[in-house]
């Protein structure tokens, strides 16, 4: 399959990108989801705005107690240690298991999050962190808590005309406990169940259950959680069992 014809635009700055978006262009980051959708003609936009050349779109900055990850930072950069410290180690562990290296070389953290595929890795993992998605719109930046960013299947809290600019995450102490589990039969397969748990000192453990037919389920305080009660709404018995296993594994495994 080949895509239907579309115009290709490469904005040189953010105002130009926002203007393209206002004109109905479909933003493209690494193109690892949109590319196949174009080829299969599941998406037929009139115009695609390629964001990859925007200034500051990729890259990681430490700003005091926060780490700002440009939305265009690739999975491969994160895998290779672009994010410092304990947080970087956690994110690198997640990035390493995203699809295959060729996908990671082009795919981006922001593109993946904004695409909001329920089985995607960053969609499943980022809500566990007390951080924000930084949206850029015609009126400037606004911050959306990561736990509320993905609102449904392929749906986000981004308003029309807004772009995902960056992800802001806290610097984590070395004592932060983390556990992440996902089920794929082979690398590259979409996850059939993902869970993760972040326990910061002096804070309740935060847990996410994802790869569901809905937005990820975020539990702000997983203390005393009954995993079985959380999965009753999953109708397929195997998927229910996997979700249960995912929850049990991360509850046992946080280290």
């Amino acid at each position: 399959m080949k895509p239907a014809a579309f115009d290709y635009a490469r904005p040189a700055d953010w105002p130009a990108a926002l203007a393209l978006l206002a004109g109905g262009a479909r933003p493209m980051a690494g193109g690892q989801s949109l590319g196949p959708m174009l080829n299969l003609r599941l998406a037929q936009p009139e115009r695609v705005a390629d964001l990859r050349h925007l200034p500051g779109y990729a890259g990681v900055e430490v700003q005091g107690e926060a780490i700002r990850i440009g939305a265009g930072t690739t999975h491969a950069a994160i895998e290779d240690g672009a994010v410092p410290g304990r947080l970087g180690a956690i994110l690198a562990g997640v990035a390493r298991r995203i699809a295959y290296r060729p996908v990671r070389n082009r795919g981006t953290i922001g593109g993946s999050l904004a695409h909001a595929d329920p089985a995607a890795d960053w969609v499943a993992v980022l809500p566990a962190f007390p951080g924000h998605a930084v949206a850029l719109g015609p009126y400037g930046e606004r911050r959306i808590p990561l736990a509320r960013f993905v609102t449904g299947v392929f749906e986000t809290a981004l308003a029309p005309g807004e772009l995902l600019r960056a992800i802001e995450l806290p610097v984590l102490p070395e004592t932060a406990r983390w556990s992440h589990w996902k089920f794929c039969r082979k690398p590259g397969e979409f996850s059939k169940a993902t869970a993760c748990l972040l326990a910061l000192p002096d804070a309740p453990p935060r847990l996410v259950l994802a790869a569901l037919d809905t937005a990820p389920l975020v539990i702000e305080d997983a203390t005393g959680l009954d995993p079985a009660a959380l999965v009753t709404s999953i109708s397929d018995p195997w998927r229910r069992r996997l979700a249960l296993t995912a929850l049990r594994r991360v509850l046992e495994g946080a280290a």
């Binding site: 299969l40 089920f183 039969r185 082979k186 397929d236 018995p237 996997l242």
Partner: protein, 771 residues
């Protein structure tokens, strides 16, 4: 054996080209003025087609069946009694019979624009209920797919034998209902075709990703009403065949007709969506197996009721019964089954035609037989090994004719089992099981008939019957040996192995041997590369052509050396008489460039020989193998990990053991796909549900374990070097061995898996059901 002859693990001559990305495939060939084709395909499984609306202004670039009346239907009928004939139109006429069936060809300068045209076409149809389940396809009241038939089946075959006394005498009886999934073959390169009309030669030149160029030529000529001389088929580099590329495609006919009509080159390149959903379907079997055994595990008899979902049409040239009709003859496997009763049905459904895939019916049959034997072993409290050894044809019985007339040429089947079991630490697996680990050990044993010829195929009465295989051997004036074969190499390494054969006979350095193949204008007619036949048939033919060529060279050489005829011999690429010798290069130069020096009685045929070959008897070689697998199961998720994989294989004399290892490894990887991953599901409306490789899972590098291969080498008494066909073998054994290992692991839970692939969901369901 020399360092480069038969038996040497010579590095592949073709690999420099492939590893440097210099292979040349249909997709690399784009002549000036090329038009690309996209096909408008049926979106529904079953409907009456009432109209096609072409996009305004593009009427001249969209071609439906009515626009191309010169294309006759594809007819692949079998002479087996009761076979129901069907026509497969190249473009749908009147009815739509499966999703993806071609309806119209849309032409444009690029594929994307051609797809735009296809998307802009209007399609009018009246939907009919789809026949999506082979088991209910023949039920009364089911809509007929081919309306002149009494019910939806291509063929039913039977062997009646009364087994009603066995219940009373057997120590154990088991009944199993088993299913293998519909799969889709996945060669790296899909199908592709480039059609051109040469006005000078008045010849159609069809460059196609095919493994059987000559049969494709015959099929094209028949369907297009051309003389065979007006058709030339070229198979360039082909990225994997596996059976899929042995089939004459509607798209080949349409591109050919368009090139003739328009006088411009026309190309269609299959994409993965088309391959998965419209074409490469294979393998879907359902079995009910009943088997009786005595207390020692010796089989007393078996009854098989098998149904194969053959899809909507009969594929050319193998026909719609290539799977089901073989089940009866190969079910007894490598065993001395004393009594046997079967019924097989080739059901017709609204799915793409079932096509031959590496192993053809054997993979399903081996799965049915071997899982049944394990069920008997569990019931009798015997080991899997003991039940195999109680039933395998013993070496002293070779050659052995079984109760359905299959003739096994040679081999020590029990030894393969003993070696495979000895290679595994089975007591340790039993100890781990006793400690509560969910691990299991499983075996499968099978034999593979390959290179079977006229005596086997004439009875099928399908569009082709293999006869004598021919090869040409000739020297060029500089002494390079050119081999020309009608078989095609697309992964088999024939450029290397046939050079090894020539070296064995003539002593010519394999580096100075060129294989010309894949072009009907340049090579002798051949049914092509299929049925694990190339090394036996083309190997035999090349050896014979080289032998005759050598005789002619010896006669010339002896004269040039002024030696008595009869005293000269051919050694190390030179004719020798006493102390004197003359190289084949010099002999070639003399024939072509200094004929004044030739003896007066020289054979005027010169240094060019076409020779034919067929083993006698031609009932086929039987390679055989035992696969022994250890698995670990995660009972929380149903995930299966293959811990260990052993293959003990006997391919007779191995022409190139390294290449045989490659064949075994590749086939086993595909068999692992059949066992654990690959499944093309359809919904009740006949819609295929896996349209990308994210949905249709193939095993990758991380899913295929390191496979330990052990070779036995029992020569076939009937072939030129004792070689046997081995190409499909690896893909036959894995599902049986892996599922037997899984069921061994699940036995303490009382659970058993019967349906392929053994996905985590199926495993967990089996475990749940046993609770």
């Amino acid at each position: 054996m020399t360092e480069q002859g038969v038996g040497a693990s010579l590095r592949r001559k073709e690999d420099a080209r492939f590893l440097h990305g210099r292979g040349r495939y249909v997709g690399d060939i784009a002549p000036r003025g090329l038009l690309e084709v996209a096909f408008l395909r049926s979106p529904v499984a079953h409907a009456r087609l009432t109209g096609i609306g072409k996009p305004e202004g593009a009427e001249e670039r969209v071609f439906a069946a009515a626009d191309l009346p010169e294309i006759g239907p594809i007819r692949a009928n079998s002479a087996l009694p009761g076979f129901r004939a069907s026509d497969q139109p190249a473009l749908a006429t009147g009815k739509l019979r499966h999703v993806g069936e071609p309806i119209a060809a849309c032409l444009a300068a690029s594929r994307a624009e051609a797809e735009d045209l296809a998307a802009a076409c209007r399609l009018d149809y009246e939907p009919l209920p789809a026949v999506a389940d082979m088991l209910t396809a023949r039920a009364p009241g089911t809509p007929l797919i081919h309306e002149h038939w009494p019910d939806n089946a291509f063929l039913e075959t039977r062997r009646d034998e009364d087994l009603s006394d066995l219940d009373a005498v057997a120590a154990a009886k088991v009944v199993r209902r088993l299913r293998t999934a519909r799969q889709s073959m996945a060669p790296l390169e899909g199908r592709g075709v480039l059609a051109e009309w040469d006005p000078r030669l008045e010849q159609l030149i069809l460059t196609s990703s095919t493994q059987m160029p000559h049969v494709t030529k015959t099929g094209l000529a028949e369907c297009l009403g051309l003389d065979e001389g007006q058709v030339r088929v070229i198979a360039p580099d082909v990225g994997g065949g596996f059976g899929y590329k042995g089939i004459l495609l509607p798209e080949e006919l349409v591109c050919a007709a368009l090139a003739i009509r328009l006088g411009r080159p026309v190309r269609w390149l299959e994409d993965r969506l088309e391959s998965l959903t419209a074409h490469a379907n294979c393998r879907e079997h359902h079995y009910i197996v009943t088997a009786w055994a005595d207390a020692g595990g010796r089989l007393l008899g078996a009854e098989v009721d098998a149904t194969v979902d053959a899809g909507a049409y009969s594929c050319y040239p193998f026909s719609a019964c290539l799977e089901a009709a073989q089940i009866g003859s190969i079910f007894p496997g490598p065993y001395t089954l004393p009594r046997f009763r079967y019924r097989t049905v080739s059901a017709c459904t609204n799915k793409p035609p079932i096509l031959p895939y590496r192993g053809v019916a054997r993979t399903g049959v081996c799965y049915a037989m071997e899982t049944t034997l394990d069920a008997l072993a569990r019931k009798l409290g015997l080991s899997a090994e003991a039940v195999r050894l109680a039933n395998l044809v013993p070496p002293e019985a070779m050659p052995y004719r079984n109760l359905v007339g299959k003739v096994f040429d040679s081999g020590d089947y029990p030894e393969a089992v003993r070696r495979a079991v000895a290679a595994v630490d089975v007591p340790r697996i039993r100890a781990r099981q006793a400690a509560g680990e969910c691990v299991g050990f499983g075996l499968s044993v099978f034999c593979e008939q390959g290179a079977h010829g006229t005596s086997v195929y004439h009875g099928w009465g399908i569009p082709f019957v293999p006869g004598y295989e021919q090869a040409q051997a000739r020297f060029t004036p500089d002494g390079v040996l050119e081999l020309r074969t009608g078989v095609h190499s697309h992964g088999q390494g024939l450029e290397t192995t046939l050079a090894q054969v020539a070296h064995e006979v003539l002593g010519v350095d394999p580096a100075r041997v060129r294989l010309v193949h894949g072009d009907t204008a340049l090579t002798p007619y051949s049914t092509g590369t299929w049925g694990s036949r190339a090394m036996v048939m083309a190997g035999g033919a090349v050896a014979e052509a080289c032998r005759l060529l050598g005789e002619r060279a010896i006669a010339i050489g002896a004269a040039l050396l002024q030696a008595e005829p009869g005293t000269a011999t051919l050694r190390n690429g030179a004719v020798q008489a006493g102390e004197a010798s003359i190289s084949l290069d010099q002999i070639a130069r003399t024939w072509f460039r200094h004929p004044q020096n030739l003896p007066r009685d020289v054979d005027k045929g010169g240094l060019e020989v076409t020779a034919g070959y067929r083993p006698d008897p031609d009932t086929g070689t039987h390679s055989y193998a035992c696969h022994a697998v250890t698995v670990r199961i995660e009972t929380e998720t149903g995930l299966v990990t293959i811990e260990d994989y052993v293959v003990v294989e006997d391919g007779g004399r191995l022409v190139n053991p390294m290449i045989v290892d490659g064949q075994v490894l590749g086939g086993t990887a595909q068999g692992i796909g059949t066992a654990l991953y690959e499944e093309m599901p359809f919904d009740a409306e006949g819609q295929p549900l896996a349209g990308t490789l994210a949905d249709y899972l193939l095993p990758g590098a991380t899913e295929v374990p390191s496979i330990r291969i052990d070779h036995m080498e029992t020569p076939s008494p009937w072939t030129r070097f004792g070689q046997k066909g081995i190409g499909e073998s690896g893909a036959i054994g894995p599902p049986a061995a892996i599922i037997n290992a899984i069921n061994d692991a699940l036995a303490p839970l009382g659970a058993e898996v019967t349906d392929l692939p053994a996905t985590p969901a199926r495993l967990l369901a089996a475990i749940e059901a046993a609770r």
